[in-house]
Point group: none
Chain length 202, copies 4
């Protein structure tokens, strides 16, 4: 009787280890040895469960994305009725509202991943897939307010603002007025979506 596989548990420990180490040292300097230590495992085991360091990063990208998707789904579910405008705000809140569960290391890691996406093709592909899915969802929500024609551009703008707040809060946290991110982006959304001309587009 073989012992029950704990592969998934181990892989999760390792991914968590990378998240932790990467948040404070970046990807290149997150050595496999440190990841293993943060995971409470031996270095050799990391390569038993992952073929190489990059694979861990790719899994982390998926996990961060999936957690974001869950937050979005939960926020959308709370919107009463079919309020299209409220759904856009819910999306923004899902990314920026810090409800006690603020995850600075996730944000720092995400910014690091953005930078890694510039050079590592596989990381770029994964990053692209995630951003594309987020953007498409936001575009749909925006289109329900102002119509398809300008939805893509507006969605990109709002998403850029979200990403920008991530960067600033990770790299220059003292310069962002605390607690202002979600509200400001929602006001940006209002400006883009609620003016007369904008509505006419719909």
């Amino acid at each position: 009787m073989p012992r029950p596989s704990n592969t998934e548990e181990r892989r999760q420990q390792i991914v968590d280890g990378l998240l932790k180490v990467m948040a404070e040292r970046g990807y290149e300097r997150a050595s496999v040895g440190e990841i293993a230590k943060a995971a409470g495992l031996s270095p050799g085991l990391v390569h038993y469960h992952f073929s190489d360091k990059q694979e861990i990063l790719l899994v982390l990208v998926e996990q961060l994305a999936s957690r974001a998707r869950i937050r979005v789904t939960m926020r959308l579910a709370r919107v009463k009725g079919d309020d299209a405008r409220a759904k856009v705000d819910a999306f923004i809140d899902a990314f920026l509202a810090t409800g006690g569960d603020a995850a600075p290391s996730a944000v720092a890691s995400w910014v690091t991943i953005s930078a890694e996406a510039i050079r590592q093709p596989e990381v770029r592909a994964a990053y692209d897939r995630v951003v594309k899915a987020d953007l498409e969802q936001l575009e749909l929500l925006v289109a329900a307010v102002v119509g398809k024609r300008r939805a893509r551009t507006i969605a990109a703008g709002l998403f850029a603002a979200v990403q920008g707040y991530f960067v600033l809060s990770a790299s220059a946290p003292d310069l962002v007025p605390p607690g202002s991110a979600a509200g400001t982006v929602k006001r940006m959304a209002a400006g883009l979506l609620d003016t007369v001309e904008a509505r006419e587009d719909a």
Copy 2:
């Protein structure tokens, strides 16, 4: 009679080399050897002109910032009269309008620098200084429109949007509608600055 000093020229070549290599390989993988090769110099010379690799990066941060300041100054100079609103737009254009001189490698490097700022204290300090100066300038421009009370928050939001476009255009360029960045952020500015409530704050 000694040969005339060309230190500044060499330093500039090296900084340019870092910019070039970093844009396509990131900071960690931009080895001193590659930087030297990109600069057309011998590896040893890099350390003759810079005490270490980080010093090159810090100089690059300053140079990128200074080029941006020049673009801002030029755009502001073109604003006729004392049009406070137009000045905000000019600031945004200085960062996002791609007038043929689009510098994708500068953007990629800047995104990389943002990520490095998360862990290297000296880089963070330099990055902070630059962002702080930019934000303060934008805040002044915004305050001329809506008054001081909300200027900081609005400036941060607009600046975040700019940084977010940098990230997206460097890391997921296919997902940003081409040519839309400056216009969208300017429309965000309009939403934040031109509504009735906003004006009342002034």
Copy 3:
């Protein structure tokens, strides 16, 4: 089932490698690569077992000191009765009598270590600790002959003579009359300890 740890064995091989290489090349020129080769190991492994080159040196200092302590203990054990004078001679013999086990590379290394102690604080601390312990032991033996008052000075003088023979035999071996070291220092001890005035101090 992991392979049984051979860390201690490896560390010893590496320390032995340093002793060997350092004796003929000095500390600075004993490159980690050469140490590894002398130990029959790969260069990377050296840094797996030691955090840096200096740590190997510090361990070597301890080992040389500990071997000397053993020789002293053995010589003292052979002294019959409670002959205080004979004990001083035994101490000197432990350092200088070359009974077939002459270890020229240990002497050369020790002289090198003395010189390194001048600049490397950690090496100096280790060297100091060792010399201090040796001196204190010799001081006790001397005090049993002439009393405490002059013991420290006499012990330091005899120990200096021992160290001086080390230097000369390592750096200018042809100039030391072979086999004369131990006898001469013991005669110095006699002069310092056995004269009428000296005994009166006791």
Copy 4:
């Protein structure tokens, strides 16, 4: 009319620079650049005046030796009459009596040179020459007291004690009773030279 050569002055500055830097960093880490800086000269000039770094060291060895010879000559000149015993003491004082002119950096350098003599053949040759000359002079002085037969051995012993005090005072200065060196070695000399048996040898 050629400008008067300042070669000798420059060479002296450079040798002084090496003495200074070597005393606090050792020979290997005394880079040519630092030596030049300590000498107030440019790095290139060092190799104009010396073919390589080792040549500076060899000149320094000669200079340190020559200064010692001068001190010995001066002390011997002060000995009244033909007092053979007093001459031995004068020799010892020339090396160990610290009359305000104590030169700790010369001592540190000398200890460093002893260690370098172990591996660099040219340094060893120079060191040997110097030590040999010193020893021969001391041997003559000793022979005038106890006769030739035992002079070599006794001279070596006294010289070893002197060298040992150099090492200890450079490498573990806190462990040598201050001001005790010259007196102790002179008492060692007394023990070796003034006993009945010793005189009989003469």
